[in-house]
Each structure stands twice: as structure tokens, then as C-alpha cells.
């Protein structure tokens, strides 16, 4: 997957978890949870969906890397480029 595809994937996952939120103006460098109503339980589901769909394991200590869209892409790129 390219960086752009990874970003799209993350956005699709978020859209599935919180379908009522508008994600079109989500900024890449600001924590996702500051921009949309996404609580810690919803956040966990992003990680669970990555595991379910792509078999990617994100250990608890690394959750912090998924705070913003940009940092998520950077963190996931080496793990998803072969997909």
C-alpha cells in the first residue's frame, strides 16, 4: 500500500466506527480525537480493525503513534507497504 492508500484505509475504518461524523476536513497533524467525537473505546476499534482486516498487531505501548492521521501513516507504512 502507498501512503495515500494507508491514509484512505484509516479514514474508511474511522468512518465505519463513527458513521455520523464528517471526516472530510480532518487535519493530518492534529490528534484525531481533538477533531471528531472518538472516545477511547472507539479508538481501540481502529486498532482492532487493523488487526482484523490486515493482521497488523499494534502493541498497547504504540497506541500513541496512532494519535494523528500523519503519525498513523508513518507508523503503519513499514507494516502495510507489502499489503
Amino acid at each position: 500500500m502507498t501512503k495515500e492508500q494507508i491514509k484512505d484505509t484509516i479514514l474508511k475504518i474511522i468512518a465505519q466506527i463513527i458513521p455520523d461524523e464528517d471526516l472530510s476536513n480532518l487535519k493530518g497533524d492534529i490528534p484525531i480525537r481533538e477533531q471528531v467525537e472518538l472516545d477511547s473505546m472507539d479508538f481501540l476499534d481502529i486498532i482492532m480493525e487493523l488487526r482484523k482486516r490486515y493482521g497488523i498487531e499494534v502493541p498497547e505501548d504504540d497506541y500513541i503513534h496512532l494519535a494523528t492521521l500523519d503519525s498513523s501513516v508513518a507508523y503503519l507504512e513499514p507494516r502495510m507497504k507489502e499489503l
Binding site: I18, E37, D45, R51, E57
Partner: protein, 461 residues
């Protein structure tokens, strides 16, 4: 069989935990000792009538579109839609004490105004209480327990108002006698006053139906009439699970909704003296009355009445079989349904003493049930129109019934007063969810299952 997770009990919390785990690909099995799901919130058929146990109303109701509340949170976590439970909001409920009545519906501002109108001198204090409630983080699993009685009486100087606020919150989810943990108080206050009551037209059956179907659709396994006989422990872990039918299961992790002490009693290294004091002792008797007509035909539109008919409000195990001086009168018909329910019904709940009921012989047990029905009816018709001539069918369950069907020690429906908020036990792979973990009410129970599944299974790689 070997599972990733074994869940003990197919009640609200066990099913919700099961859905989370099965949805995310865990091999999960729920074992339920009863032939019916639901646990403390279940249902039965008797005399051609469909009856519910537990659920009077679902608390935490918010209309579709509200995002930051326990109910939508729960629906998102279980991948369910707002319509799935078919919740219909209440009409109006009341708290009735001698000389004072406070009404409330699902509009919080209405309740605030009721308090101000009835207790004008407490208006500022009540606002102060609300501020304290809203600033408290009731979901912090590591918060130190504090006394709600102390917090509230330090702010509200009129004990009558204080008691009237406590009454519904205690009846609908407090395991502690005479007092309540403040975090629980905040959870209950929000779930009843700030959010509100609703009920599916088909009652608890609808909710359980949705949960079971979802769980199975996610690939979860459900074994009914399948009681756990013992949990074999070694090296600080549960090594295997022995079922009453002789089968042996293994699982990496175990979530038990059977209750804390009840779960400890299943351990092969169980030390009775260590855990017994934790058992809860608050239980209830419930009178279910089927009527020949809709309560609305008698001019009765109230959804739930929380009454107290004495100068004090005692929430504790009574010295007699039943305490009719306070209680809850629920009318399942009086929700905003699209079409009326098939029959009129009134349910009355009073505090009761498990030991005294349990001690009775068969004949005396029956006689006492009949006698207390008379007594409680005499009391409740002071608060609702006299419907006694319209009763066509009666069923009564006691603390003994609750104990028999749910396995709860003392028939304690709200479990132990000492909640295990983190869900952790002294064993590395055994966790508590449901009533004894500490989120109460039906929504709370489901959130408990979800939180514990998230915290102790899904977050662990």
C-alpha cells in the same frame, strides 16, 4: 475444547463481552447454567402471560443522534444500530414521599425545575450538587470509594430532598445498605435523571434476542444448561474449566459474570473464610400483576413510582420478610409505544430478606407470598388508583427464587457492595465482569462486559 476466552454467564455483560470478542476474531464460548439467557434480566412464560424479570425500564435512554452518552457508546461498540433495541421512552415517573412529590421524565431540565419548585430553599444547593456530579470522573476505575451520603448531605441541607434523590438511584442499582459509593451515585444519577427510561415493546426479550443473534452471527459459541463445576488453578492461573456434565474446557482467559464470591467459590483453591464477607445481602421481592384492562383506562399514566411512606428512608435488608414502607411500582404499559401492549400489568418491587424467605417450609412459603401480596397492595394503592379488582393473574418471586435461577448468594441482585472495578482477581487470567465489576443497570452491565473484554483481552496482543 480450547478457547481464547471462556465467558461464564449469558447475561447482559457476558453476551456483550462475547460480541466484542467474537467480532474481533477470538474463539469465544459462553457457558450458561440456565436453559435461558439473561441472568438477572430475563423472562419467563406463565399461565399464558409473558413476564419479565429484572428490567422495569432500561436506564440511560438518549434519543438517536446524541453521541456522547453510554447508550450510543454501547451501540457503537456492539456494532448495533439505535433502532435495534426498539426503545420507546417513558411517559412520566415520580418519587413520592410523605408530603412531597417529584416528577421526572427524560427531559433533565424538567426534573431540575421540579426540584426548584418543590424545594425553593435548596435551589442553589441543588445546582452545587449538579456541579459536583458533572465534575466527577465516575468512569475512573482506580478512584477511591467515597460515601455518597456524606457528599450529598454536605451540599443538600434538607434530608427529605436528599432521600428523594437517593430513593430511585438506590432501588435501581445499589448493592450497599444505607449508603452508596459516590461514583455509583453519579452513574445512576446520570442514567436515570440526566438520561432517562425507555423500554422495548417486547421488554427484555427484544434486547436479549438482539444480543444473542449478534453474538452468534459473529461466530461466538453459546452452551446452554451448561454449569461450571470448578475452575482448576495452578501457577496463579486458571488452568482448566470443569463443567457439571463432566466436560473439561481450556481457555487463555476467563471472564466471569457469575459474581465475585460466586466465581471464587468455583476455584479449586477456594478459601471460604477469605471471601464470604464480600457477599451482598440486598434482595427484593417482586409482585407481578396482570390486569384485565390497561392502567390508562383507570386514568393511570405514570411509568414508574418510587415511593417511601415513612419519615425515614431505609434502604437495607429488612428485619421482616418484606419492607413495604418503600418500593417501586412499575407499569410496563406506560411507555410511549406505537400500539398498546397485549395486557395491562403492574409490577411492585420491595426490599426483602433472603434468609427469612429461605428458611420457610413449602406451605409457609406459599402462604407468606399470598399474605405479603395483600399487604403490599394495601400500601401501593395509596400511590396508584386502586386496581385490585382488575387483577386476573399474579406471580411473585422472592429472594429465594432469584438465588435459585441466578446462583446469586442471598439473591443479591446488585451483587457485592465491594466492586472489583478493574475486573482483576488474584489469578492472572481470571476477570470479573457484570454486576460485581460495578457498572450497573442494563446499559451498565453491557458496558461492563465490553470494557472488561477490551481491557483484558483485546488490548493485549
Amino acid at each position: 475444547m480450547d478457547y481464547d476466552v471462556l465467558i461464564i454467564g449469558a447475561g447482559m455483560s457476558g453476551l456483550a463481552a462475547g460480541i466484542r470478542l467474537a467480532y474481533y476474531g477470538k474463539r469465544v464460548c459462553i457457558v450458561e447454567k440456565h436453559y435461558r439467557v439473561g441472568g438477572l434480566n430475563s423472562f419467563y412464560n406463565l399461565g399464558g402471560h409473558k413476564l419479565d424479570v429484572g428490567l422495569h425500564a432500561m436506564t440511560n435512554y438518549v434519543p438517536k443522534g446524541v453521541k456522547l452518552a453510554p447508550l450510543p457508546k454501547l451501540l457503537r461498540q456492539l456494532k448495533l444500530k439505535a433502532e435495534d433495541f426498539g426503545l420507546c421512552p417513558q411517559q412520566m415517573s415520580v418519587i413520592k414521599f410523605p408530603d412531597k412529590t417529584l416528577r421526572f421524565n427524560n427531559d433533565f431540565d424538567f426534573f431540575v425545575q421540579e426540584v426548584i419548585d418543590n424545594f425553593p430553599r435548596q435551589a442553589d444547593n441543588f445546582q452545587k450538587l449538579l456541579k459536583t456530579i458533572f465534575e466527577y470522573d465516575e468512569l475512573n476505575l482506580h478512584a477511591k470509594p467515597i460515601s455518597a451520603r456524606e457528599v450529598v448531605s454536605s451540599i443538600i441541607s434538607d434530608p427529605l430532598l436528599s432521600n428523594m434523590i437517593f430513593c430511585p438511584l438506590m432501588f435501581y442499582g445499589n448493592a450497599q445498605e444505607n449508603d452508596m459509593e459516590f461514583g455509583q451515585f453519579v452513574i445512576m444519577f446520570k442514567s436515570i435523571f440526566c438520561e432517562g427510561f425507555a423500554r422495548p415493546r417486547a421488554g427484555v426479550r427484544r434486547i436479549l434476542d438482539v444480543l444473542v443473534k449478534k453474538y452468534k452471527a459473529c461466530g461466538g459459541e453459546l452452551k446452554m444448561r451448561c454449569a461450571v463445576k470448578s475452575l482448576k488453578c495452578a501457577n496463579s492461573k486458571v488452568e482448566s474449566i470443569l463443567l457439571e456434565n463432566g466436560e473439561v474446557l481450556t481457555a487463555d482467559r476467563i471472564l466471569s459474570s457469575a459474581g465475585y464470591v460466586e466465581t471464587m467459590k468455583l476455584l479449586t483453591d477456594y478459601d471460604f473464610s477469605k471471601f464470604n464477607s464480600h457477599a451482598g445481602r440486598l434482595s427484593f421481592v417482586e409482585f407481578i400483576l396482570v390486569l384485565s384492562k390497561e392502567p390508562a383506562e383507570m386514568g393511570y399514566e405514570t411509568t414508574i413510582v418510587f415511593y417511601n411512606n415513612s419519615d425515614r428512608f431505609d434502604y437495607r435488608r429488612p428485619d421482616g420478610l418484606v419492607d413495604v414502607s418503600s418500593g417501586v411500582i412499575c407499569c410496563p404499559n406506560n411507555f410511549q409505544f406505537e400500539s398498546p401492549l397485549p395486557e395491562g400489568m403492574i409490577r411492585i418491587t420491595n426490599l426483602a430478606n433472603f434468609d427469612l424467605w429461605n428458611r420457610l417450609g413449602e406451605e409457609e412459603y406459599k402462604a407468606q407470598k399470598a399474605a405479603w401480596l395483600e399487604t403490599t397492595l394495601k400500601e401501593v394503592v395509596k400511590f396508584v388508583p386502586d386496581f385490585r379488582d382488575s387483577i386476573v393473574f399474579t406471580d411473585i418471586f422472592t429472594p429465594k427464587t432469584i438465588c435459585r435461577f441466578t446462583g446469586r448468594i442471598n439473591g443479591a441482585v446488585y451483587g457485592t457492595p465491594n466492586k472489583t472495578k478493574t475486573g482483576k482477581t488474584h489469578l492472572d487470567n481470571l476477570f470479573i465482569c457484570g454486576t460485581d465489576q460495578g457498572f450497573l443497570g442494563i446499559v451498565g452491565a453491557m458496558l461492563s462486559g465490553i470494557s472488561m473484554a477490551n481491557l483484558h483481552v483485546l488490548q493485549k496482543v
